[in-house]
Every structure is written in structure tokens, then in C-alpha cells.
């Protein structure tokens, strides 16, 4: 069907046609200018009136009278009043006919063919084509800006495009044609358009996301400006609305009226996905007896956001009859705790507060962090639940208590009195898409106040990074924190346009985690040559080094699975073959310093309290070693030495960590391990590895045999082994490898001697001597260090003490049969 015919089917067509004559921008300008002219001229008229009898202004008066200035000014004012009234009427007209496709859940749906935004683009593209219509329209230009594409760029692109005459209308996915359908159509049919976007690193997902945000912005501003809507009118407080209810003098001391909170007042923030939770709370509060709810959720602001949404509904009078004209007040636990230091005063104040609330008759009492009051009462020997139970079951007051999930399980779940009177409502954690929605409105607010501009990619990155780069807390809180922190940072660095790269740069500065935003050429070199760099320290284990290097490259370029740790390896092999050294080398080369390797000796976690030690203890309140380790350093290597020696519970914990990239600590708080590389070492099945080597086989080829032996012996479960990115077999070191290692160790001694002005001659004979006497089959290269200390370093120390080795001298070792003798020259 022809575009014009399609458009004419709908009643919106007339609106679009009149809008095309006088554009919205022009109308806004008219309204503004006419307002200014009217006020200035009224001021001038007043000036003329008050100066007419003043002798100093006689000439001025003559001039005024001669040219009938007053009449003319009056005429200009009348014209401008006409223009102003027109612009206001037009605003009512266009705003009332606006079709809301995103916010308020399509409530304005009529029997339509297309939405307003889609109609605007098609109308614009009638004479050219849809691509021109999209890019030339005000909305299209705005969407491009949100994608970080400048007006100049999009115009240059458009000038090269030929128009397609008689283009068909895109087929909508749903019942009516939306702007997203148009974008999908353009993306699937216009190759140049796709190339234009892809050249700028923009994917189709980002295009649709930017459209979503642009529509959200337009619709919220349209919605909030409609002051004549019944909901908006209902926000005005009626006279004498609360006269029939009582006063709460004492309660006011310990609480605040939530209806006055900024979050409740802002209509822009009212489009949250909390309808399910709010519905459950309303149901609970509508009961005749025990009309109370217990809001259970992760620590953070999410529970409070649900409450704010509920309060907004109360304020807008969009709530069930049980909550009409109610006054939600937030009882602040900390004030009560600090004011009531002994049992008597706490019990007295609490019962009076609750009594007052019951007597007032219109109070919805919201108790933030009820656990704090509960614990405080317990410490004073008072039973809080028992104390409030007469009020809880009364119909005079509705209570909503906020509690963290872990506290709920620990203190309240088993308490029958409480469970009977409170209905538990679980606050669902928001997913990334919903977090983006929250960031939409917050970012718009920030743009208005701080004069910055966010691209859609930046907003999406904020939401993604919140769960990706930070170790604990609720994602939506973290995303909001990130947004609030990034604004002053951007202002300081003179970034008025915040894009994805700026967000990643900020996160990199904050967390020291390299984000995949920018890879410097120095880092690129490092990544390409990882094998070489690690290989300088790890001798004879090429397969292991290659596997680890590949994992690191995957992580840094962003190809890895974001919901798992950076990498996880199980290093199997006999003692002293370089397993720990590989981990250290990795920390040094990739993470910048050996300090970024954290080590857990798993043989210390064999007993029953191993889990308490690692993730903290609920009863003692002690923090766990693993959880605090990750909180302190959320980016680095964790070496799990002698992994096979730990107990089954700990192995199960790692099953989850390796699979999902997080675990919950003793308080139930999630700890993110997605920026950690786990390396577990074990010398289980060392005998099989030796046997393979003795049979002249490469242990790498016997990996399956080795793993099945470990499984059959019950050392690790097969599912645990499968969770590791790779199981790497470290082979016993050969003589050549040991010689190299001995050389490296002796070089270290030599370097220390150079610092003292001495020279140290490392001969092949010395290296062979160290290898033969220092290493053994069972412990690999490990005893060699000790041997060098005892023999070589010991001898050098004696030479220094007896004055033979002084700066400038060369120390040379010679081997005579089994004896080592030193010579200074």
C-alpha cells in the first residue's frame, strides 16, 4: 500500500497534516516569544501611565500622543494574546491526541493503524522515502544524537542516498505499526544504512534501544506536561482531607511523611516494573485484620523504590480503597535506637507510637530495616514482636516492614506470631533491561541539571557494568551509584558527551579492571606475546602456558562469557613442576604485579568449619577469608593450592563460583567473582603422570586417563572438573628444563651479588651440579632453590665474611667429583 493511503486510514492523519504546517518547535517559539512581548509591553504601558503627569517627561508624552503609541502597544498586546492562546490550544490538542505507545502500558490504545511517532516519520517520508523520513524527522535526528551520531554526519549520509519512489509500508510485528517496526524494516532492507551504523560501531540492538529511550523521553515529557489529566489533578491536596483523622505528635518525631519525598513527587520516575509487588502489598493491606506486609529483598534501595511507587499511587489516588487518603510515614529505626537506650523507654515509646498510629486512623507505618529495632530490643531484653503484636492485629493501622532476605530467614520466618499477621512480599531483583529503564529517567534528570548528554550506549553500559565489574550489592543500586559518580567525573574531565568509552574509562579508573573499551598498543603487545612473557619464567610447560594465555586474551577482548570468572584452570601435576610459578607469572605479566595473586592454601580448609572460614560465619558474625579477599581486590588471580585437600562443602561452593561467577556470603549478599581468575592446583594422579612419562608418552595425551582416575578415586566429581575452563597437565620436568630453571635461579643469585659489586661466574658445570644434586623425581625443581641456598649462597657468605670476596672480585665455582669448591679472582 502507498504510504499516503496508509496514513489517511487513521484519524491521526489530520493531526499529522496540521502539525506539518506549524511545527512543534515553531509553536513553542511562538508561545515563548508572545509571552515575553506581552510582559515587556505591559511594563511599558505601566511606565507611560505613571510618567504622564511628570514634568520631566512632557516631551515624551507629546511623542506618545502624536503617534498613538498607547493604542499601538495595546494592539500588539492583543495580537500576542491571540498568538499565545493559539499556541496553548494547539498544545492541548496535540498533547491530548498523542498516542502513548510505551509508558502507561498502552492504555490509550484505540483502533489505530500506527502510532504517533511512526506516523510522523511516514508523513515526513511521503514525498521521498522512509529512510529520508526517518533521518529528517525531529525524532529520527534525536535518535541519532542518542546514538552519538552528529547532525552533520547524518546529513552527509542522507545527501548520498537516492530516494525510492512508491515505497511500500513496512509490515508491523504487532497490531499497529510502531517506530521500532520502521527501524527494523530499514535495518533489514537498506544496506547503506546498516553500513553507516556499523561503521560507527552501532548494532541493531543499540538502534532499537536508542529508539526505546527516545520514545520514553518524549512520552514522559508529554505525560508530565498534561496537567489536566485526572491523575495529575488528583495530586493536588484537597482541603480538610485529613481533618477526620487524628494527630501523631510523637510519631512525627521518629518518622517522616513519605508523600513529601522527592521520589514520590516526580512523575517521571513513576514507570517502574513494580506492579506485581505493589499489587501484593495492596492486597495485604486491604485485609480486615492483620493488614500488614513484610517486604523482603536484597540489601539496598530496591525495597524502598517499591514503597515510593506505592506512595506515588496513594498520592495520585490510584490505589485500592483501603489505601485511599492514607498517610504513609517512614519510621526511622536509627532515631528510635539512639533515643531509647533502655528497655523501659524503648517499650514505652514504641507502644505510644503504635497507639498513636492506631488512634489517628490514617497511618500506613513503614518500618525501614525492622531487624535493627528487633535486635536492639533483643539486646535490651525486650521482645519486640510480642510488644507490637496487639497493634499488628488491629485494623487501625497498616504496617509495611522492610527486611533483608537473610534477616528474614534468620529472625522472622520461624516466628509464627509475625508470619500470621504479616504477609511476606518478595521484591524481585531487576534484570538488565529493567535497570536500563530506571537509568533512563535518572539520566534524563541528570542531563537537565548538569548539562551533560548521555548516549544510549553509555546508559546500556552503565546497567551492564553494574553487575559485571562490581563485587557486591544490588545491580540497580550500583547502576544508579555509577550514574551519580560519573557526572562529576565527566564534568571534571570536560566531557559533555558521555558515551560508552567514557563509561568504561571511568570504570577502569575506579576499579583498576581493564575494560574492553580501549586496549593500548603496549597492552596489545603484551597480549600477543603472553606465551613468551610467561614462558620466560615457566620452563618446560608450553601446553599450560598456551592454554592460560588464550583464556586471558579471550577475557581482555570481551569474547569470554561475562557470567563466569575470567578463567578457571585446574593444574594437575607432580610437585615442583611450575604450577604455582605459572600462577605467579600470570599475576605479574597480566595483572601487573605478583601482589595481584591471592593464595589460599586449601589444606587449611578441611575441617567442618571450612565454609565458615571462607564465606564467613552467621553466628559469630566473622567475615570470610574468600569474601573479604574478593571485596578488597576484585581483579586478579586466586590460587587454590592443593585443591584436592579441602572438604566436600567447599568443593560444592566452587562448583557454583566457577559456573555462575558469584557466591553468597554469610549475610546472603552476592559476591561477584567475574573478574577473578581461579587457578586450582593439585598433585592428585601424579603417579599416573609419572607412569605416562616413563612409558614415553606425552602426559597431555593421557589427560582423559588421568581425569578418569581422579574421578574414580573420588577426589573430584566429574561436574567440578567440567566446570573448569581447562584441565592442564603439568609434566615432570626433563633434564633440559631443570637446567634452564637452575640457570634462572643462579642468575637471581648473580644479580644480588652484582648489587654488592661482586661478579659471579655461572658455568655449565655448576648448572649440571645443581640439577644433579638439587632436584629429585618426587619434588621436581622445588628442592633446587634450597640446595642453591645451602651450597652456593652459603659459600659466598663465608667468602664475604672472611674478607676474600670484596667488590670487584669474581667468584667462580669448580666441581671436583661430588664436591663444590669456590675460587675468588
Amino acid at each position: 500500500m502507498n504510504i499516503t493511503d496508509f496514513l489517511k486510514q487513521s484519524s491521526i492523519y489530520n493531526v499529522l497534516a496540521t502539525e506539518a504546517i506549524v511545527s512543534e518547535d515553531f509553536r513553542l517559539q511562538l508561545s515563548k516569544i508572545s509571552k515575553i512581548i506581552i510582559s515587556v509591553l505591559v511594563f511599558v504601558l505601566l511606565f507611560i501611565y505613571f510618567t504622564k503627569s511628570h514634568p520631566r517627561f512632557v516631551e515624551f508624552k507629546v511623542f506618545i500622543d502624536q503617534y498613538h503609541i498607547v493604542n499601538r502597544i495595546f494592539g500588539i498586546i492583543l495580537v500576542n494574546i491571540g498568538v499565545y492562546i493559539y499556541s496553548q490550544l494547539a498544545k492541548f490538542y496535540y498533547s491530548s491526541t498523542y498516542y502513548f505507545e510505551k509508558i502507561i502500558g498502552n492504555k490509550y490504545t484505540r483502533d489505530e493503524f500506527y502510532t504517533f511517532s511512526a506516523g510522523r516519520i511516514l508523513y515526513r517520508g511521503q514525498k521521498t522515502d522512509i529512510l529520508h523520513g526517518f533521518i529528517e524527522s525531529r525524532l529520527g535526528r534525536f535518535i541519532f544524537l542518542r546514538l552519538g551520531i552528529s547532525l552533520k554526519d547524518s546529513r552527509a549520509f542522507l545527501s548520498k542516498q537516492k530516494t525510492i519512489l512508491k515505497e511500500d509500508v513496512p509490515v508491523p510485528e504487532g497490531e499497529i505499526l510502531k517506530i521500532k517496526d520502521i527501524a527494523k524494516y530499514l535495518y533489514s532492507t537498506k544496506k547503506e544504512f546498516v553500513k553507516f551504523l556499523n561503521d560507527r560501531g552501532i548494532t541493531d540492538k543499540e538502534l532499537y534501544g536508542a529508539i526505546d529511550w527516545a520514545i520514553y523521553e518524549i512520552e514522559t515529557s508529554e505525560y508530565t506536561s498534561q496537567w489536566w489529566r485526572p491523575e495529575a489533578l488528583a495530586r493536588t491536596k484537597s482541603i480538610a482531607e485529613d481533618w477526620s483523622f487524628g494527630q501523631t505528635f510523637l510519631l512525627n518525631k521518629y518518622s517522616r511523611n513519605l508523600l513529601n519525598d522527592q521520589e514520590v513527587g516526580s512523575e517521571a520516575m513513576s514507570f517502574s516494573n513494580r506492579d506485581a509487588e505493589i499489587g501484593q502489598i495492596e492486597n495485604a493491606l486491604s485485609k480486615s485484620v492483620g493488614s500488614n506486609a513484610l517486604l523482603v529483598g536484597e540489601p539496598g534501595q530496591e525495597k524502598m523504590q517499591v514503597i515510593w511507587s506505592l506512595c506515588r499511587n496513594i498520592k495520585n489516588k490510584k490505589t485500592s480503597s483501603a489505601l485511599q487518603n492514607k498517610k504513609p510515614v517512614l519510621l526511622i529505626a536509627n532515631i528510635i535506637i539512639s533515643a531509647c537506650k533502655d528497655k523501659t523507654s524503648l517499650e514505652d515509646q514504641l507502644s505510644r507510637i503504635f497507639m498513636e498510629a492506631v488512634k489517628a486512623g490514617n497511618i500506613v507505618l513503614i518500618i525501614d530495616n525492622i531487624t535493627e529495632i528487633f535486635k536492639h530490643a533483643e539486646s535490651l531484653g525486650s521482645d519486640f514482636i510480642n510488644l507490637i503484636s496487639p497493634f499488628v492485629s488491629s485494623s487501625g493501622v497498616q504496617i509495611v516492614a522492610l527486611v533483608n532476605t537473610s534477616d528474614f530467614h534468620q529472625y522472622f520466618e520461624s516466628n509464627k506470631a509475625l508470619v500470621n499477621n504479616f504477609e511476606a512480599v518478595l521484591v524481585r531483583p531487576l534484570n538488565t533491561q529493567e535497570i536500563i529503564q530506571i537509568i533512563y529517567s535518572a539520566a534524563l534528570e541528570a542531563e537537565r541539571v548538569y548539562d551533560v548528554f548521555f548516549t544510549y550506549q553509555a546508559v546500556a553500559e552503565l546497567a551492564n557494568s553494574a553487575s559485571y565489574y562490581f563485587s557486591n550489592g544490588v545491580s540497580s543500586d550500583k547502576a544508579m551509584d555509577l550514574l551519580n559518580e560519573i557526572i562529576p567525573w565527566a564534568k571534571r574531565n570536560s566531557y559533555n558527551l558521555v558515551g560508552k568509552n567514557e563509561v568504561l574509562e571511568y570504570i577502569e579508573q575506579k576499579t583498576n579492571i581493564p575494560t574492553s573499551g580501549k586496549i593500548s598498543s603496549k597492552e596489545k603487545d603484551k597480549l600477543v606475546n603472553l606465551e613468551k612473557l610467561i614462558g620466560q619464567r615457566v620452563i618446560g610447560q608450553n601446553d599450560a602456558v598456551l592454554a592460560v594465555s588464550n583464556a586471558l586474551r579471550r577475557a581482555r577482548t570481551g569474547v569470554r562469557n561475562p557470567n563466569k570468572p575470567i578463567g578457571s584452570f585446574l593444574f594437575l601435576g607432580p610437585t615442583g613442576v611450575g604450577k604455582t610459578e605459572t600462577a605467579k607469572a600470570l599475576a605479574y605479566v597480566f595483572f601487573g604485579s605478583e601482589d595481584n595473586m591471592m593464595r589460599l592454601d586449601m589444606s587449611e580448609y578441611q575441617s567442618d568449619d571450612a565454609m565458615d572460614k571462607l564465606i564467613g560465619s552467621f553466628t559469630s558474625g566473622k567475615q570470610g577469608i574468600l569474601s573479604s579477599m574478593i571485596r578488597e581486590k576484585q581483579y586478579g588471580v586466586i590460587l587454590l593450592d592443593e585443591f584436592e585437600k579441602t572438604n566436600k562443602d567447599v568443593l560444592n561452593l566452587f562448583l557454583q563460583i566457577l559456573d555462575e561467577g558469584f557466591f553468597s556470603d554469610m549475610t546472603g549478599q552476592k559476591i561477584n567473582t567475574r573478574n577473578i581468575m581461579f587457578i586450582a592446583t593439585s598433585n592428585a594422579a601424579a603417579d599416573t603422570i609419572f607412569a605416562a612419562v616413563n612409558a614415553d608418552k606425552n602426559p597431555k595425551d593421557s589427560t582423559d586417563v588421568i581425569i578418569s582416575e581422579i574421578v574414580s578415586k573420588g577426589i573430584f566429581k566429574p561436574e567440578l572438573i567440567n566446570r573448569f575452563d581447562s584441565t592442564i597437565i603439568f609434566k615432570p620436568l626433563e633434564k633440559v628444563d631443570l637446567q634452564q630453571i637452575a640457570k634462572i635461579m643462579l642468575m637471581k643469585v648473580s644479580n644480588r651479588m652484582i648489587e654488592k659489586g661482586l661478579k659471579f661466574d655461572i658455568s655449565d658445570a655448576l648448572i649440571d651440579y645443581v640439577v644433579e644434586n638439587g632436584s629429585n623425581k618426587a619434588f621436581g625443581a622445588r628442592p633446587m632453590n634450597r640446595f642453591i641456598q645451602d651450597s652456593v649462597e652459603g659459600s659466598v657468605a663465608n667468602l664475604i665474611l672472611n674478607g676474600q670476596a670484596v667488590p670487584g672480585k669474581v667468584i667462580k665455582f669448580s666441581i671436583d667429583g661430588k664436591d663444590l669448591s669456590e675460587k675468588v679472582s
Binding site: 498613538h68 493604542n71 499601538r72 495595546f74 494592539g75 500588539i76 498586546i77 492583543l78 495580537v79 500576542n80 494574546i81 491571540g82 498568538v83 492562546i85 493559539y86 490550544l89 482541603i239 480538610a240 481533618w243 477526620s244 483523622f245 487524628g246 494527630q247 488512634k359 489517628a360 486512623g361
Partner: protein, 89 residues
């Protein structure tokens, strides 16, 4: 509704003693009477104000409807008469 008209102001009422004591009974009675009077007076004022608003509404509603319907014509009138004043003064 008539019962509500005399209820104490913002539920500020003293409760009567369980065991009869003339003194406390009297003081509660007096306090409650004052509160009921205050409530009654304030309610009366607001009711009268409301009635006045209703009357104003009844009077002005037809006028505003007429103005609203005639607004397009008023716009034309304003612009034309303004232009006349500017040009022909």
C-alpha cells in the same frame, strides 16, 4: 453526617475514666466539649466555603463553556482588532 459534624477536632479527645471520678469526668467532658466545638466551627467554615465555591462554579461554568467554545473566534477577534489598532491608530 450530623454526628460527624460534632466530633472532636482531629480526634483530640480525652477518654473518660473507667472508675467514676467526678473531677476527671468533668475535666474530660470540658476538654471534649471544647474540641467538639472547635471541630464544629472549623467544619462549618469549610462547608460554607465549599458551598460558596459550588455557587461560583454553577455561575461561571456556563460562561467558561461559552468562552471555551468561542476561543477560536476570540483568537481571530484579538488578532484582527490588534492589527486594526496598530495600523489605523
Amino acid at each position: 453526617m450530623f454526628g460527624n459534624f460534632f466530633t472532636p477536632w482531629k480526634r483530640l479527645a480525652d477518654s473518660y475514666p473507667e472508675k467514676f471520678s467526678f473531677k476527671t469526668y468533668l475535666s474530660a467532658f470540658l476538654a471534649n466539649t471544647i474540641m467538639r466545638t472547635v471541630g464544629m466551627v472549623l467544619r462549618l467554615i469549610i462547608i460554607l466555603f465549599g458551598v460558596a465555591c459550588c455557587i461560583a462554579f454553577i455561575i461561571f461554568l456556563p460562561i467558561s463553556i461559552v468562552i471555551w467554545l468561542a476561543l477560536p473566534l476570540i483568537i481571530i477577534f484579538l488578532i484582527v482588532s490588534g492589527l486594526i489598532l496598530i495600523i489605523f491608530s
